[in-house]
Each structure stands twice: as structure tokens, then as C-alpha cells.
Symmetry: C2
Subunit: 695 residues, 2 copies
């Protein structure tokens, strides 16, 4: 760190001592300074150009003097950290965590209270957090507003979804920052639970691009015991302010010291691929908290799910009214509706299919009583046509596990009370992974999906699951912030618009060219790709939806949308229709030694190559927007000593996501590290390549 | 039931069919009628005079048409019920439940929705509730306001505490209804968590008296999964309206059909003793839900408690700041404050005392870490000077059990997450009863102590405790409504201003002449009587408080304040100072065969005789207000074939709660069922009598 005298760019900042810290490669520079009022500010430069202009920091507090000004610097400490750690699963088997740190201890003159701001400067950006040591006069306080700003230097292009306390299942909008206000209404599409809060509110991770070709990403890391942060844009000044999710009183954080906030993150690069390659979010999280992780493993699965999503079958067992409270209903006396998906025969069919094609697990939704009520699920009682023991036994006899499903209907309070019994039941029958869901407004009432209480709830479920050696894949929970480093049994989340929306009218064709820059920064997404029958009316004649994707692109997503948990979401009969294309889904690994980001431009295309964690095979995927994309790929990342057989699953020449989505070609050729491949993704298309070492 | 044509007393009620039901003895008459608008109303008469005038019923609903008018009667059903049941513990060993019922099924013309109102008419009053059957168009709804009214016929005298969503620890005010508004501000005294809601809001059970000498009591029974009801007075019309505790959104009930509300109760008599003798609230609750109740038993206990309440010792172990989060604090490295009450030596002293004097249990508060923080208690980790195993072993070796203490600091959400481990720990060490506490504002934030969620929380804890065969005594929880019939492991509650306030400046001398009419209607109170050293400065010189009670009255409370859980709250050394008076506390049973209410006038005096459940001995107690009271007691309730030795613990002639509280006499005399006793309670005094059968 160098202490220098800065001539302040803004009038209120005058001749002040500023503290700086640079990234290991020197390209990213963080500057901390106090204004004349003693208000903390920071600034981020990249290659000597401003990325974040001087921006205010601090908190407005409830009933006591705010942490926003009147500070002096007590001391500063700088440290360097460089370590390589091995994730339990991931995009690569070794992750380097290399940063320079600046810790600034501040004291507020009027109150004597102290606050520490810790900055970590990486080659790809900066993370910072606030720390509140235990102090006699600061044991407990309530946050009214976080004042952290992110001051942009211009009217950038952004890929954004509307800020909302309850959902992230929105389609992305690409626009200038100045256009957010105009486009915001249209960006808020219906959802089972939603609470937009401002006409210029957007969610993180927010991906932006400057006119100079700089890629900037704002997010947070290690969201624990704190409200989830969105951003609110002052679109005159082009300044984002942190916007925390309120509790039912409208407050924004109950803090008991000692406490550290989540990290606020600014990633920056002049190459979009570096954003994808960055592990900044994971690195800012605490190391693994679990001593034994041997029971955690990646999962490739099928499920009794898409048939309900498309409306072909139902979660509920009966269409009759349940006249009694759920715990008194005798389902055997009710008339089955004849369309219940989770019935013994159908589940056996999926088990057979999974076993035949080498999958690990079969998810079954709608197995448990209560779907008629959407209330007070007990998570332990199965419908009469779902034989819990027999089906698990059958699955195990074929080397398959069933995957548990806990839809809470948003009743997180009820879920907590029943969690222990629900997890115990899983162990009794041999389940080791659960998909949980939080569809609808939360209970306790007044809590939002992203409030401090709810954030605590999701982590509570993850920690309890770990005690039982269970893996969790939570849907409609808060967006991930890298906590899977600390709790690697969090093997998936939804927290974005997933493939299900392709059966609800469709998502924009560019959707999967953005998610890796945004949602996936925080951790894997259970995106449920693999809808090879993209035209949903072939699955259910009553559903006129169609996926905004070619068939080939559906295959590519297994590479471009990193997750240790990958579903083959389509129906068995649809996979049998496209058996040769399905082979890629069967072959593609779900855990990786290494990832190479070949091409990337948010909203346009992403091409990624990944090396299998357990072999020398490589896989490539490309996802492209509605304009398609031409790639010239150098395979120089391949092992120079090896030869590979490349199986290329590509859009046919006449393919097109709108009019001819299922036209694909499968070709094979021999390649080496010297090869170059010329490939073409159709409009809304993509390609997938398996590169198997030849022996 | 007789259907009669009533000429309506109020203009909007015209020639309508009314339904009536009378009590078994014919003295109480319930009339149900629809107004011309189809709004349901009820009315209660006693001995042919109106007690509750025609009063509206129904609910304002959120977003859908309210349940307030447009109804027609579909059908009515009348039944008679007469049964005698045996409580696990109680004021008597056999309870008769005898009522006539009227059930009115209503259909709302516009919506087709149905609602049922069920009335039960007892000799001492009426209970009614609303029932919502499952209907295709009414699976779920939200209550904005309960519209139930209780229309008084005049400006009655009332003994009331201020309506509040968070506390009931207020002193009573005696006033006319018309004076409530003026006196309300003064009635709201400071509390750790409090939310008064209206200048004419009062709590139930509300006790009133008409100028004609009629005693009227309004309360509710079987409060399950619903917000707690207070009452708001329209003091022009003298009409109370039900005022439900809101959820954080301001709504007043999430209802999933089928659902029945709690019972709204109106008790009435021209003899105040009948209100005390009534079991209407218990009878309106469901029968015992526990198959095995053999593990439930009354408890007489002492505790490491009053010494902290008076400020003589502390709950916390250290005065140092805990710099780390609680789970990382090493208490052995911190400096003890030297005043920690729950230390091994002191607890052993209480155990010795309990064993010597025949008590069952020793409560120990402040045994577990976290009192310095008042946050995030784990309920399983003891302070270094409290040896969990050794102390329990020591207690058990002397035939004593320790009583567990769980102070949640209002963090009910945290408590739920830790409940299972906390209860399991109790079983490991041999605890079978827990005192829980909810001091301070609740979390999840925005919930009130009496909200629907909180009501569900307390019952959840009781039910979970029952699974572990544990008894619960919850403080700062919602006021009881007879649920101890259904869950007799709920052996106590606070939910009113307890004896602790005598160390915080004192309660009014008439306090215990009101509680049996109000708070105790719903179930036993852990009032913690027995403060023989009424002048607190003899216990802690820094505390200038004094109990508004004579010493003799403290003894009487063991009879007048019924509870299966009775504490001898004072310090061992104080009991040794008054060993002869202490004998009554040692002798008095905590479970009864029979109770006879000899004298009663709310705000003035109560005299009760009770027969030991396990012998033929009787005990009498009298509590009197600041004016004192003279009794002429006939002992005709005694067994005619037996002779008794009466030991009379009375105020000395010159005793007085203000100036001479500890002047008492102990006299003995032989009595039979023909005897009459002339007794005098001093100002703020009382008397206690043990009547032992002579052999």
C-alpha cells in the first residue's frame, strides 16, 4: 500500500490522506478516503482508468447516530494472501485465492464507536465488507439503509432483471442504464410471489459493459445473517446504491456485534471471459465448514417433473376437495384424478430409464400428500399410489437413488418445524439429496424471500441437512453468493428463470448467454436443461409453448451452465425419440478438472471447454443468442501428447430456434491440440462437442 | 330450542326468524338472528334480563367479499351434552361439562360461501365460535378484522388492563367503562416489549360488574392457530368489538379451511363466586390429546431466581464484553463478576434446602451461556461454574429434580431451531419441566407476542415437549385459554403481572383479588408467591421495593391462586427467618379434589377452600385489598364425620401491608363441619388455614 496525497476530484473531498491497495498484477487499484465530513469513500480503477468513481460507504442506523460520517482512521493494515484450495466439486479442481488486503479501522468521533472496512483486491476486481467489533456501546443495532454506492463513470450497457424482494425469475433486459426506468414495468412479469421496490431497482449479479469495452460486474459474496442486497440506480448521476431487503417492520438488518457484513463485489476486465473465469465470489467465502465431505457428490438425474410442468400430469392425487385437515384426510377414500405423475408405475418407468442410461438419481415431485391444499405439508406422508419403501428398494436394486422433494409452498416456518422428521425419513429410505421449493409468499407473514430471516432459514436448512449428510438444491431461495464453498452440500439453487419457463411461454433466446455472467457467479444453478422436444405440444397437446432454443443448444447447456447437479429434464419418451443426441447428455460429466473460456460476450454467445475431473476427455459447449454465432476454435488447450475423437452435436444448416429447432447433425472427427474447429450456432442455437481421448 | 318471532329491538332488525337456545338450568338464554341485511347477530340474557344486547358477528376479509352480511340460514341444529371428565390436575378431580348447543349454518347469497356459528350455552354463560368448512371457493382467506361485538347494556364497572399486542404485565385499573379512555395512558406502564393499540383497548379475560350486581366476564377459549383477541370499546355506545392481534402485514388471520375459530366467551352470574367456580373455558377446549399422561405431575419448587430479580445476584457470569460470537467464547478465560447466582455452591444450597423441606424441584435461571449478550442462546451450554451433570446427580441423590430454564430473549425463531437439542439435553440429565421466557420484542421481526404466528409457536413448543414427556411453564407467552385441558403438560404460564413486580416497585394491593377472575380463567399462573420477606431491602439493600402484601397473604396465595406448579419464591435464608409461617407453604398441596368458593368480590376479596387431592385435609386462603376484609366462614363443606385441627396463619391485629406487613399469628383450634370461623384480613392482607383431619 502506498499512502499518497490525492487532489480530490469532488469538492467535498479536499486534501486528505487516502489509502490504496492494488491487485497482485497491479491492474486493479482500490482507493479508500474520508471526505472532509469524515464519510468513508472508495474508488476502483482498472489499468489506470476509473471503474467505480469515488463512492460513499456506510449505514443509516435506527434510533442511533448513523455510521455515515464523522469518522477518523484509527489505523490501516495491509496483507497479502495466496493460497490454492480444492473444492469438493467445481469448474476446476484447484482454485487460487490471491489478493492484497487493506483493512481500515475507523472511529466515529461523536460516538467513539468503531467500524472496520476490509478490502480485498484481486486481479479481477475488489471485494469489501464492513465489520463491527463488539463494543460496550455497540452490542446491538438496527440498519435503516445501507449507504454503499457504486458510482458508474457513464451510461453503460447492462443486462438486468428488475429488483424484487421475492423473485428472480425474470427474463433479462439489455439496455443502457438510462433506459432502465422506461423498461422496468415491462421487465416485471407475473410470478407466484413478487415485490418489486423501485422503478430503477435491479438485482445482482449485475453485468455491465462500458463503451470502452470494459466489463463490470456488481454482486455480493457470503450472504449470511443479513438481508440480500439489490441495487437502486440514481439515473441522473448513474450511481447505484445498495438496497437491502427489508424485514416486516421495514428495517434492513438486526445486527448483534461482533458482525461482518457480506462482501460487496466489483469485478472488472476488458475481456468478458475473465469474468467467467473469476473465482472472486467463491474466494471471498469462508473455507469449507464441514469436516467430512466424502458423502457429497455430483448428481446427474432425471425426474417426474417436466410432465407436470408442461401440464401433461399433475402433482396432486385427486381433484376432490379435502374436507378434513390434512392430517385427518384418508386419501384411500378419495377419487384419484387419474393424472397423478408420482404413481408407482410411472416412477418405476423413470427408474428403469435412469438405470438403463447411467443416471444417478430420479427426482419425484408430487409424492407427498397435500398438493390439493398447497398448505401445511408434512414432508413424510406419501400418496397412496406412491410406495415409499417399495420404490426406493426398487431404485436401489438398480443402482439408482430417488431424489427427495420438499415443496414448502412458501411456508418456511412450517418447514423448519418439520425439517428434522423430514430429513430423518430421507435417511430411513436412502435418499441423500433433496430439492426444496419456496413457491408463493413466505410465512411467517411479512417476510420476503430475500429478507434477513429468510436468508437465515435457507442456511439453517443447509446446515441441518449437512448434519444428516444430505445435499440440498433449493428453489425459490435467495440467489447464491458462493456459500457452496463453505457448505458444499449446497449442490444447487434455482434463484433465476429456469427451463420451466420454456413451458410457460418461453424465455428470451439470449437468456443462457447472460446467466453465467450473473446468476452463476454465486454458485451452480439447477437450470434443468435437456429439453430435446423443444415444441411442448408434442409432450402435452394443450400446451402451445416452445423453448427458445434449438435441440443442439440444449445439449451445450450441460457445459456452459456449470452445475454439479444436472438434470435431463425431458421425458423418457422424448429422449428415445432423439436417442443419438441424448448420447451427449449421457456422456457429459458433471464435475471438472479444468475449464477454459474460449469465447464470451454477454447477451451474444458463450463457448466453454471443460476437462472431465476423472479422465482426460474434454467437452465443449456453445450457447448463442437469436442471431446465432460463428466460432473458430483453437483446440490448443488439449493435451499435446494425445489424440481425441471429437463428436460434434451441431445445429443443422437450416436449423433455427423458431422454425426448425430440432434439426441437428452429429459428426465425428479426429482432433489434436493443433486442430482448429469452425462451427456455426444457428439462431437461438449452439453446439456441444465431446472430445474423447483415443487409446 | 324454540323458534320464536321476535319483535326487533333495533330498527334494522325487522320481522325475522330468530333461533334460541337456553342453558340447562334455563337461566341463560342465547338468541341468534339475522338482520334485514342478512348480518348475523347474537344476544345473551340472564334470568330474563339482557347481558349482551343484539351484537354483530362476522369478519371483514381481505380482497374478497366480507363475511358480514347477505347471509341466509341454511339450517340449524340443537344438541345437548352432559359429561364429566377428570383432569390430570386441577381445582377439582371431576369436571362436569354440561351445555345445550345451537349450530347455525349460514350461506352468503352473493358468494354461495358457507359459515357455521356454533353456540354452547352453559349455566354460567355462552361460548360461540365460527366454523369455515372446506369449500371450493373458500380454501384460503385472510381476515382483515373480526367484527364480533359485545354490546353492553350500560356503563359497567370493570377491572381492566390496557390492550397490548406484546404484554399483559400491567396493573389492573378499576373504573367505569366510560373512564377507560381517560385512565388508559396511566395504565400503560413500561415493559421490555409493549404495543398498546387503542385508547379504549383492553385485554381479556375482562371482568365487569353492572349496577344491578351482575358479574360479566368476556374471554376466549381454545386459542389455536389464530391471533389472540383483545377488545376495543366504543365508549359512546358501550360496545366492545373483538380486536385481533395483527401479523406483520397488518392482517389478522391467515385461514385455511376447514377451520374453527377460538370460542368467544361470555360468562354471567349474579354471584361472583360462580365466575370463579365455572369451568366454561376448560370445557370449551378439546379433551386431552395426549394418550399417556402418567408423566405429568404437579410441582412445588424453589429456585435460584428471586435473588436475581431483587438484584442481589446476576444471571450473567461476567461483566466483560464478549468479543467473539457466543459459540466461540471461552468463558473460562473471562473474569467472573463474582455475583453469578447459578454457581455450583449456591445451587447445591438450594438443592439442600429443597430436600430438607420436601420440595420437588429447584429452578435455576442463568445456568446457560449468553446472558451477557441477551442473544442467540443455545440452551445447551452451561456456564463454567454450573456443572450440569454433577448438580443434577447431586439433586437426584436427594430426591430432587432441577427445573430447566430457557430464556429466549424473545428470539422465538432461534428457539424453534434449537428446541429439539434443548429438549434432548433435558432428557439426558433428568429434567422433566422447563420454564421458558420471551422477554423483549419477538423475532422473527414484526411478530407480536400474541400474533397468529406466535400463538402457533407456543403450542408447537408444548407439543414438542409432550413428545419428550416434558412439562412447560411459559412466561411472556400468550395468555392461556384453557389449552391445558388438551395439553396438560402446559402446567403453567405467566401472562400477567407476577410477583416479580413486587421487586420492581410493587403491584396494587388488590391485584390478587382480580387475577382469579381474569388471568386464571384460562389456566394456572406461575405467580411465584411466598415472598415472606416482603421488604426487599432486607434481601438486597440496594432495592427499596416492597410487596403490597402482608406475610400472611403470601401464604394464602397458595390456595387462592390455583396452580399445579407453585413456587416458594423467596430465598432459603428468608424462609429460615420465618420458619413457622413457612410451614404452611411446606404443607399446602398443589392438586385438589374439590374447591369451594366461600367469598368473592373482584377488587376486594376472595376466600377459597380446597380439599387435598390425596387426603381429606382442607386448606383455606383469603386475599384482600387495601381495605382488608372480615370473614365469617361456615365450615359446612367439611366432612360431617370428621374432626379437624385448624392451623390459622393470620395477620396480626396491628398488621398492615404498608407499615407492618410481617406481623402474623399462628393459632390452632379444633373444628368440625359445624364450626364457624371469624377471621380478619389486614389492609392488603389475608389468611391461610390448614385443616388437618384428626385421627
Amino acid at each position: 500500500m502506498r499512502k499518497i496525497l490525492l487532489f480530490a476530484a469532488i469538492t467535498m473531498v479536499q486534501w486528505l490522506m487516502a489509502q490504496q491497495q492494488q491487485s497482485p498484477n497491479g491492474e486493479v487499484m482500490l482507493t479508500f478516503a474520508l471526505t472532509a465530513e469524515g464519510a468513508p469513500t472508495y474508488r476502483v480503477d482498472y489499468k489506470h482508468k476509473p471503474v467505480i468513481k469515488e463512492s460513499r460507504m456506510g449505514f443509516a442506523l435506527k434510533n442511533i447516530e448513523s455510521f455515515d460520517r464523522g469518522f477518523t482512521v484509527v489505523d490501516t493494515k495491509t496483507t497479502t494472501f495466496d493460497e490454492t484450495w480444492q473444492p469438493v466439486w467445481g469448474e476446476e479442481s484447484h482454485i487460487r485465492n490471491h489478493y492484497n488486503e487493506l483493512a481500515v479501522r475507523l472511529r466515529q468521533k461523536n460516538t467513539g464507536r468503531e467500524m472496520l472496512i476490509r478490502f480485498r483486491v484481486y486481479d479481477e476486481g475488489v471485494g469489501f465488507r464492513y465489520e463491527f467489533p463488539r463494543q460496550a456501546e455497540l452490542k446491538y443495532f438496527v440498519i435503516k439503509e445501507e449507504l454503499t454506492e457504486f458510482a458508474m463513470t457513464g451510461d453503460y450497457k447492462a443486462w438486468w432483471i428488475a429488483g424484487d424482494y421475492d423473485t428472480q425469475e425474470y427474463d433479462y433486459t439489455e439496455s443502457r442504464l438510462s433506459q432502465i426506468r422506461t423498461l422496468h414495468d415491462k421487465a416485471v412479469t407475473p410470478n407466484a410471489s413478487q415485490t418489486p421496490f423501485s422503478p430503477t431497482g435491479v438485482q445482482t449479479a449485475l453485468m455491465m459493459k462500458t463503451d470502452n469495452g470494459l466489463y463490470i460486474n456488481l454482486h455480493e459474496a457470503a450472504l449470511v445473517d443479513f438481508p440480500c442486497m439489490s441495487l437502486n440506480l440514481d439515473d441522473k448521476k448513474m450511481v447505484f446504491q445498495a438496497w437491502l431487503t427489508p424485514d416486516p417492520r421495514g428495517d434492513k438488518g438486526d445486527i448483534h456485534t461482533p458482525f461482518s457484513t457480506p462482501w460487496r463485489t466489483v469485478m472488472v476486465s476488458d475481456d468478458a471471459r475473465n469474468i467467467l473465469a473469476s473465482r472472486l465470489i467463491l474466494n471471498l467465502n469462508e473455507p469449507c465448514a464441514l469436516k467430512d465431505t466424502s458423502w457429497i457428490h455430483p448428481i446427474k438425474y432425471v425426474g417426474v417433473w417436466w410432465e407436470m410442468i408442461t401440464g401433461k400430469s399433475t402433482w396432486a392425487y385427486t381433484d376432490e376437495l379435502l374436507l378434513e385437515p390434512l392430517n385427518k384426510v384418508d386419501y384411500t377414500k378419495l377419487k384419484p384424478n387419474g393424472r397423478h405423475g408420482a404413481n408407482n408405475d410411472n416412477v418405476r418407468r423413470y427408474i428403469d430409464f435412469a438405470a438403463k442410461h447411467g443416471f444417478d438419481q430420479v427426482l419425484v415431485e408430487g409424492w407427498n400428500i397435500g398438493w390439493e391444499n398447497w398448505h401445511d405439508y408434512d414432508f413424510v406422508t406419501s400418496y397412496p399410489d406412491f410406495d415409499l419403501k417399495a420404490l426406493n428398494d426398487y431404485a436401489h436394486s438398480k443402482g439408482i437413488k430417488l431424489m427427495m422433494h420438499h415443496e414448502t409452498s412458501g411456508e418456511a416456518g412450517n418447514y423448519e418445524r418439520r425439517l428434522s422428521d423430514a430429513y430423518k425419513l430421507m435417511k430411513v429410505y436412502g435418499y441423500d439429496a433433496v430439492k426444496s421449493g419456496y413457491v408463493g409468499d413466505l410465512t411467517p407473514r411479512g417476510e420476503y424471500h430475500y429478507s434477513q430471516w429468510a436468508v437465515g432459514h435457507y442456511l439453517y436448512a443447509i446446515k441441518e441437512a449437512a448434519k444428516h449428510h444430505l445435499m440440498v438444491n433449493a428453489h425459490e431461495a435467495v440467489r447464491p453468493t458462493g456459500l457452496c464453498r463453505t457448505y458444499p452440500n449446497l449442490i444447487g439453487n434455482e434463484a433465476a428463470r429456469g427451463t420451466e419457463f420454456e413451458a410457460f411461454g418461453g424465455s428470451k433466446p439470449f437468456h443462457t448467454t447472460i446467466l453465467p455472467f450473473t446468476r452463476l457467479q454465486g454458485g451452480p444453478m439447477d437450470y434443468t436443461p435437456g429439453i430435446l422436444e423443444t415444441q411442448v405440444w408434442y409432450t402435452n397437446p394443450d400446451n402451445k409453448s416452445w423453448a427458445r432454443s434449438t435441440l443442439a443448444k440444449q445439449l451445450a447447456l450441460y457445459v456452459t451452465m456449470y452445475s454439479p447437479l444436472q438434470m435431463a429434464a425431458d421425458l423418457p419418451e422424448n429422449y428415445e425419440k432423439f436417442a443419438d443426441a441424448f448420447q451427449f447428455i449421457k456422456d457429459v460429466p458433471v464435475d471438472w478438472q479444468k475449464s477454459v473460456y474460449l469465447e464470451a460476450e454477454p447477451g451474444q454467445y458463450i463457448t466453454i471447454a471443460r476437462k472431465d475431473k476423472h479422465s482426460d476427455d474434454w467437452y465443449i459447449g456453445n450457447t448463442s443468442n437469436e442471431n446465432g454465432h460463428s466460432s473458430q476454435l483453437s483446440l490448443s488447450f488439449l493435451d499435446k501428447s494425445k489424440k481425441y475423437e471429437a463428436t460434434i452435436y451441431a445445429d443443422a444448416a437450416n436449423a433455427d430456434y423458431e422454425h426448425n429447432p430440432k434439426a441437428y447433425t452429429i459428426t465425428k472427427q479426429k482432433v489434436t491440440s493443433k486442430s482448429k474447429l469452425k462451427l456455426r450456432a444457428a439462431k437461438g442455437g449452439g453446439y456441444a462437442i465431446a472430445l474423447r481421448v483415443m487409446r
